[in-house]
């Protein structure tokens, strides 16, 4: 009685794996590491984290232009406690400071990407 062909090849594969256990371990480790890295990179790009990661190439030295973290340390309104005229006034002061901050800069305004601003508008339009 001879074993079926499939069982024979399975048996050969198991013998081969047993013989090269270390190689199999290394290959499996690399495959798992690559899979997790790919998932991590996919999440990094998909979630929008990449857009706010200023440690990427091309953003060197941009740290100086960023607002200091301490700027928002004082913005801390307690989520618990009674509501009184004083606590409402405290909130008003904190909120108005941020509202003023938001209104001061008209972020992403202007049209720096217009062909005219970049000097590449059609010569026929001139």
């Amino acid at each position: 009685m001879t074993e079926p062909k499939e069982t024979q090849s399975e048996h050969r594969l198991v013998t081969l794996m047993m013989k090269h256990q270390l190689t199999v371990l290394i290959v499996l480790t690399i495959v798992i590491a690559l899979a997790f890295t790919s998932i991590g990179l996919w999440l990094y790009n998909k979630s929008g984290t990449a857009q706010i990661d200023l440690s990427r190439p091309g953003y060197e030295g941009i740290g100086k232009e960023l607002a200091d973290d301490s700027e928002y340390k004082n913005v801390d309104y307690s989520a618990s406690g009674p509501i009184t005229s004083e606590t409402l006034h405290e909130f008003e002061e904190l909120y108005e400071a941020q509202l003023e901050n938001a209104m001061t800069i008209d972020a992403f305004s202007g049209d720096p990407l217009s062909p005219q601003s970049l000097g590449i508008d059609s010569p026929d339009d001139k």
């Binding site: 929008g48 857009q51 706010i52 200023l54 091309g58 953003y59 941009i62 232009e65 960023l66 607002a67 928002y72 913005v75 801390d76 309104y77 307690s78 989520a79 618990s80 406690g81 009674p82 509501i83 005229s85 606590t87 409402l88 909130f91 008003e92 904190l94 909120y95 108005e96 941020q98 509202l99 901050n101 938001a102 209104m103 800069i105 008209d106 972020a107 992403f108 305004s109 049209d111 720096p112 990407l113 217009s114 062909p115 970049l118 000097g119 590449i120 059609s122 010569p123 026929d124």
Partner: protein, 177 residues
């Protein structure tokens, strides 16, 4: 009536102009102009890429603080004190949606700008020009989302003032009784 007609005509003309811009093939002289100004255009785009990234982080941080450290906390506190904060809660919900929209529009703009920066304008001036028009439209979307967020912040402020006034009136009435 005449004003409306003029505004309509202007709008139609600008739409057809944008449509023409994005579909008509570029003339030879236009392509040549893009090729000869390629280096300076790329430099301006790189600068804009950097400055917009820092603006995104700074504005994003501020909007985040307003949403989580101010609006959410006040709303929670009002509810915990069994006060009617429904208007403030609904405005805060609108703010959260607008903040998500800001993140999303900026993400799409930045991805498109990065793609544009990879296009070689000396070899593919037409592709570069079309991509530029697309990035420009996406930046306008980002500006709109910022304007919307600022407007909702103002609405919340107004709702808060209305609430405070009502609260003060009610407190005075109770103490007089």
């Amino acid at each position: 009536m005449t004003g409306v007609a003029v505004a309509g005509m202007t709008l139609l003309m600008s739409i057809s102009r944008v449509h023409a811009d994005s579909h008509t093939p570029l003339s030879g002289s236009h392509k040549q102009q893009i090729i000869s100004n390629c280096t300076s255009v790329k430099s301006s785009l790189n600068q804009l890429h950097r400055s917009d990234a820092s603006l995104r982080v700074n504005r994003g941080q501020m909007y985040e603080v307003v949403g989580t450290k101010l609006m959410a906390r006040l709303n929670g506190r009002l509810v915990a004190n069994r006060l009617d904060a429904s208007t403030l809660v609904s405005t805060a919900a609108r703010y959260d949606t607008a903040l998500l929209n800001f993140r999303d529009t900026y993400k799409r703009y930045e991805e498109q700008l990065s793609t544009l920066l990879r296009v070689d304008c000396t070899k593919q001036p037409e592709t570069f020009y079309r991509a530029l028009l697309d990035v420009r439209a996406k930046r306008t979307e980002v500006h709109k989302s910022v304007t919307n967020l600022n407007s909702i912040m103002s609405d919340y402020h107004q709702d808060f003032i209305d609430f405070s006034n009502e609260y003060e009136t009610a407190t005075k009435r109770i103490s007089n009784d």
